[in-house]
Symmetry: C2
Subunit: 334 residues, 2 copies
């Protein structure tokens, strides 16, 4: 059935079922002018938003509607994770093509609801509007964190180590495979990289654990490690030196890069959408951090250190030391 046949109000009825995960914090969910929520008075609120446009951030040619729904929520959860917080309530706006099948939209919402359950989020409202050409989905997510315990981008200090919570570049390799379907790599490598692109997982437990370890700064890797280092160093007033040889890249990503004739390090530094966390910590905190993350099954990699601002942002690569270019995904120059 096409959206143009079911109409807006039928659609809203269809989509507003089973949205609330934890009733105890929701006085009124979707269905009134605004949701009514009980705050936890001792905690600070976290508030973030992300928009995804069909054909720009995702394509139904290679992602299922369910994956798009899950990803729309996961990218927001990743922002809350990067503050060390816990997600709470989301509102979801979708601009819909009239030729979109209702079944597809239903799948999108199944993905949203599944991710909401996984991350413990209530979907408490939204908006559905018309869009002539493309589906656009916007999620705004409210979370919270113990007062005084949020981790900002501003706290990095010279001498701190720079760490990431997992290997990088798989999401970019996955996007490459989706857009170059004839690439002759192994099934295992293809599945790993495609999955990293279409079903990213936000590092929620790691973010919360790290917030309890006295780390100095944190960011999620949405635009590539290099871009996030520019964010952290810019906000903290520091430089950094990243060692290329220490940037973790999975063998399956290396395989895809080899077949494609590309440099896997480029994907790891500039690819983005890996949604691992990058954080900085004083040398003394290094072991605590490593052990705390190990307890929750997360391996941490030290990729470099924070330096004084005047040293700039550097990449220590095989062919010498050079400036670490921002180089991340620029949404207006693609």
């Amino acid at each position: 059935m096409k959206l143009s046949e079911i109409g807006e109000f039928g659609l809203i009825d269809l989509l507003t079922r089973d949205l609330v995960y934890d009733r105890s914090r929701v006085i009124v969910g979707a269905g009134d002018d605004a949701a009514v929520l009980k705050p936890d008075g001792d905690r600070w609120l976290l508030f973030t938003t992300d928009m995804m446009v069909e054909g720009v951030h995702f394509s139904f040619d290679y992602c299922s509607a369910e994956q798009v729904g899950k990803k729309a929520l996961a990218v927001n959860v990743s922002d809350i994770a990067a503050m060390g917080g816990r997600p709470g309530h989301a509102v979801v706006s979708v601009a819909l093509r009239p030729d979109l099948a209702v079944e597809k939209l239903n799948e999108l919402y199944l993905g949203l609801k599944e991710a909401a359950r996984e991350y413990g989020i209530n979907i408490v409202g939204g908006d559905t509007v018309h869009s002539p050409e493309r589906l656009v989905i916007n999620v705004a997510l409210l979370g919270d964190v113990a007062a005084g315990r949020a981790v900002y981008r501003t706290g990095a200090r010279p001498g701190d180590g720079v760490y990431v919570t997992g290997s990088l570049g798989a999401a970019a390799a996955g996007l490459y495979l989706y857009t170059h379907p004839d690439t002759a790599c192994s099934t295992g490598a293809a599945a790993h990289c495609r999955g990293a692109h279409s079903e990213p997982v936000a590092r929620l437990a790691a973010g919360q654990t790290l917030a309890g370890c006295g780390i100095s700064a944190m960011d999620d890797i949405s635009d590539g490690l290099a871009s996030e280092m520019h964010e952290i160093c810019g906000a903290s007033g520091t430089g950094c030196r990243i060692r290329a040889v220490d940037v973790p890249v999975d063998d399956r990503v290396r395989e895809v890069a080899a077949v494609a004739g590309l440099d896997p390090l480029h994907w790891a530094l500039f690819g983005g959408e890996d949604f691992e966390l990058v954080f900085t910590a004083a040398p003394a905190a290094g072991d605590t951090v490593r052990e705390a993350l190990l307890q929750i099954g997360v391996t941490v990699y030290r990729v470099g250190e924070i330096t004084p601002a005047e040293e700039g942002l550097l990449l220590d690569a095989e062919d010498g030391i050079k400036p670490l270019l921002r180089g991340g995904y620029d949404h207006f120059n693609i």
Copy 2:
């Protein structure tokens, strides 16, 4: 300058100036992964969102970018007003055409910031992404209300009066004038109606005042009075009877309708976007409400009453009593 020349990061720098209105409630605003906010522990949170698509909800052919920015915020404030609450913090996502002039985007943000100041809102974050054809803007707005004092759609009871906070149909008349520029009406009528469409004002003070008067249900008129009555009666399990002769329609709207050869009541009932409030109150509360609103300069109009569900939703018109059709703006059947 075109957006494609300035790039995403230059753009974000440009847009994230002067966003915060009340620093005391914002620990961190735009610029980190998520905003960090101090909740007022005794109050309940309100959370709402609205999305606007270029060419569907607005057009730069007849709205300035500043007006679009103001409206994007005002329509969300209207939802908070309809709960009896006060707005607090907003996150703003925009999907931008690369051929959009930076000056136009700057104007859009000036409009957002101006509306934010008027309504006492902090803009604490957002997302800017690429959209090939159309500008899309999404605002998610967080507000609060004294615990237990939110006004829902569910509380209308048979015997309650139905009231609106101002005259209806001007926004629809304005849209008609924008899309039929040759309509030969007076300058005064044209300015009034066009302004109602392109610069709607949310009834924030009225909503807060009404929440203190013990009214039974409230909604903002975004989709037309008829559609909102379906919302209230559906949520409350009641019927209603609206008297056509009592629906307030400004003389300037009547003038435009006469020139256009259309029925002004149609605009008032089904036109939408007037952003007045419709509410229900027990007969005993009528005088209190009227006086409280008069104190803040708002005239209230009684347009009908709530009836038992089995009587249905009726329109008492010149040519007899008939069903009050929903008839609101259906975003997928336009």
